[in-house]
Amino acid sequence: MSDTHSQLAFVRTEMLAQKEPPAKDKGAVKWVRTNLFSSWSNTILTLVAFYVIVKLIVSAGPWFANGLWDTNSLSECRAILDGARGACFSVLSERWQQLLFGIAYPSDQYWRPTLAFVIMLVAAAPVLFVKLPRILLVVTGLFPFVAYWLLWGGTFLTPLVSLIGVIAGYYAFKNVERFGFVLGLGAGVIVAAIVWKIGGALTASMDDVLALRAVASRDMGGYMLNMMLGVVCISLSLPIGIMLALGRQSHMPIIKGISVVFIEFIRGVPLITLLFVASVVLAYFFPPETNMDLILRVIIMITMFSSAYIAEVIRGGLAALPKGQYEAADSLGLDYAQAMRLIILPQALKISIPGIVNVAVGLFKDTTLVSVISMFDLVGMIRGPILASTEWNGVYWELYGFAALLFFVTCYSISQYSQWLERQLRTDHR
């Protein structure tokens, strides 16, 4: 037995070195084969797509490359290009401030909306990212008041009084809440109203304290207006939507009735109709000379509109929860508010995230509809003043491309955030 080996002709005593994979199964070649040319149909699609891309680059490339940035009018652009294809980006370099801030916002005050935008990012951060220190929420709480002061100007006392009123109302609510939720709410509202009234009377004669130059609502415009409408309406419509969704599920007939009628009525009416009501019809109901702020009217209408949609999205989330969750909350002895706050809504809202984001992105883009009621938002600025100026009459691609770029950046960020959030909140075991 011991000399078995000697009878064999050859025995390998060490391992073979690993061989390179065949050329067609490695690296770029493999990637191309599996991803682009894996079958006949895919090959055809790849070729077609390749052709389209090349065509696009060949036709749009020179347009970008020849772009002019420093002429004074479209005719000057055309004279310089002299028949060659090329963009006239000069309209952007001359009018970018109008596109961002509107025609009438004082140009030496542009730092104010810019600062408000930066603070908004800071204020939104702790809400969006749970891991950030909670102390940042103070910024979030103060943001609406500071932003109002920055954007509209005037004395700082106005938002300060509003803030004190809100805080006083909150404490009144906290102290009375143990006698009942509704009682607490009533006490909070009354205390806040009293503080506003007294504060308003006290500060009436102090218009110059910490005053920024006042800017009328009419003078707001450009992308700033889109951002203002979008941010305010989305943040307002979320809590209202939750209340409507809960109201619709309520067993109390009046609350249920009000919620159902509100939601169904608003969903049955196009947004543009509501905007026309805000701008045109409401003017008939108020006496002349009372100019209830047009932006405020529009905010109310858009908020109503989007809260109805968000309510339905959240109702979907509520309906998706198994009945056991409700019963579990009851069996723990939680009252309605606690059960909703601790058990039901966290789960229902998590399910609703894609739907809510969908509504939010749609709403943000819908803010451009205000151009139809002659407000100069980003699209209104393009459609109205800029295309009607003698210098830039006839520039389309550059302007609308710029608008599309701004909206894409914003909406894509929102959508990426929501996908990230969904991954964070995933609790199943996949």
Binding site: L74, S75, R78, E94, R95, Q98, G102, I103, A104, Y105, S107, P144, F145, Y148, P159, S162, L163, G165, V166, W196, G200, R218, F276, S279, V280, V281, A283, Y284, F286, P287, P288, E289, T290, N291, M292, D293, L296, I299, I300, V372, I373, S374, F376, G380, R383, G384, P385, I386, L387, A388, S389, T390, N393, G394, Y396
Partner: protein, 338 residues
């Protein structure tokens, strides 16, 4: 915070309900600003420039009225309106004057309860087609697709014209002039129709204006003018005669350059009356005697306004035509100032 603003607005609404009955002039003086409705943008007629200052032929009327009533051509709050919102803005009192290339028609004056205070531009509806189409007359447009602005008189004129000539067309509705331009150039419609002044301005902005022709037919009368609400005739008179002062100023050779010099007194009593050195025309309409002088000094006479905004030297390049002074064969004719 929003709530307090809202409640505040409601309170103010209640308090001022009684004060609304006062005259428009008093309102304007109390406010210190004239609220003037303009278009959201029409080349040469009204558009804000790079600094956000409104410029244009219609805008000049607003500035003239502000100069006459308040002494300051900058004391104007411009309220942009679209074809659909303009009349409600005026009727609801949001604006004091609407100077928005609006056609004077019977029903607008009577049924909608407005007063047109004069005609600052005599226009007419025309057609523009690409030269390559080979059309020489609007009557050959049978079966054409036509780009047309909605909510305007041009829409109705078009229907009338095609019906009387017993030919058919397909309308392509559009919202603004700026929208029509790319649609027409891309061939979404064969014909673009609007006021002849608008056609000229649109064509001037094309890359190759020579490839498009404006057909000879003018199918309607479009007397464009500023308007005010029914019921406050004193205010109507002020706006009306501010405009006619500009027209008369051209007739008598008063310009923004020489108005100060002429206001010192001239041989011509009519000029003296307009400029307030003789008589007291200003007091008759509740204004300072220098009202017309202020207006002319602010914006120039009618001819200057025309030349600066839409005249042949500008990209819009319109000839005076019907809008020349009556002495030059046009229709601009101001009543005597006495």
């Amino acid at each position: 915070m929003k709530k307090s603003v809202f409640l505040g607005a409601l309170t103010v609404a209640g308090l001022t309900a009684g004060a609304a009955a006062a005259g428009t002039l008093d309102d304007v003086k109390a406010r210190g600003k004239l609220n003037c409705g303009v278009t959201t943008g029409l080349v040469g007629f009204a558009a804000p420039d790079a600094n956000g200052e409104w410029q244009g032929f219609d805008v000049a009327i607003c500035r003239a009225v502000a100069a006459a009533t308040l002494g300051d051509p900058k004391a104007v709050e411009f309220v942009p309106t679209t074809g659909k919102t303009r009349f409600t803005a005026l009727a609801s009192g949001e604006i004091d004057v609407l100077a928005r290339n609006t056609t004077w028609t019977f029903s607008r004056d009577t049924d909608l309860k407005f007063d047109f205070i004069g005609i600052n531009y005599y226009d007419g509806q025309g057609f523009m087609v690409p030269k390559s189409l080979g059309v020489t007359s609007a009557k050959e447009l049978d079966g054409a697709t036509v780009c047309i602005q909605t909510g305007t008189t041009t829409e109705l004129n078009l229907a009338d014209f095609f019906r009387t000539n017993n030919i058919t067309y397909t309308p392509v509705p559009i919202e603004t002039n700026a929208e029509a331009q790319p649609l027409y150039l891309e061939g979404a419609c064969d014909v673009y129709t609007t006021d002849a002044s608008g056609l000229a301005a649109t064509r001037a902005a094309f890359e190759n204006p020579g490839e498009h022709v404006i057909l000879p037919e003018i199918i309607s009368k479009e007397p464009l003018g500023p308007l005010v609400r029914h019921g406050d005739n004193e205010w109507g008179d002020i706006v009306s005669f501010t405009f006619y002062a500009l027209v008369a100023a051209e007739e008598y050779g008063i310009t923004s350059a020489n108005v100060e010099e002429m206001a010192a007194g001239t041989e011509n009593p009519e000029i003296n009356r307009i400029l307030g050195t003789e008589g007291d025309l200003g007091a008759m309409i509740g204004l300072d005697n220098a009202w017309a002088k202020n207006a002319i000094a602010a914006v120039g006479n009618y001819g200057e306004i025309f030349a600066k905004n839409i005249g042949e030297e500008t990209p819009v390049g319109l000839a005076r035509g019907l809008n020349a002074q009556w002495k030059d064969g046009g229709l601009m004719y101001a009543p005597p100032f006495r």
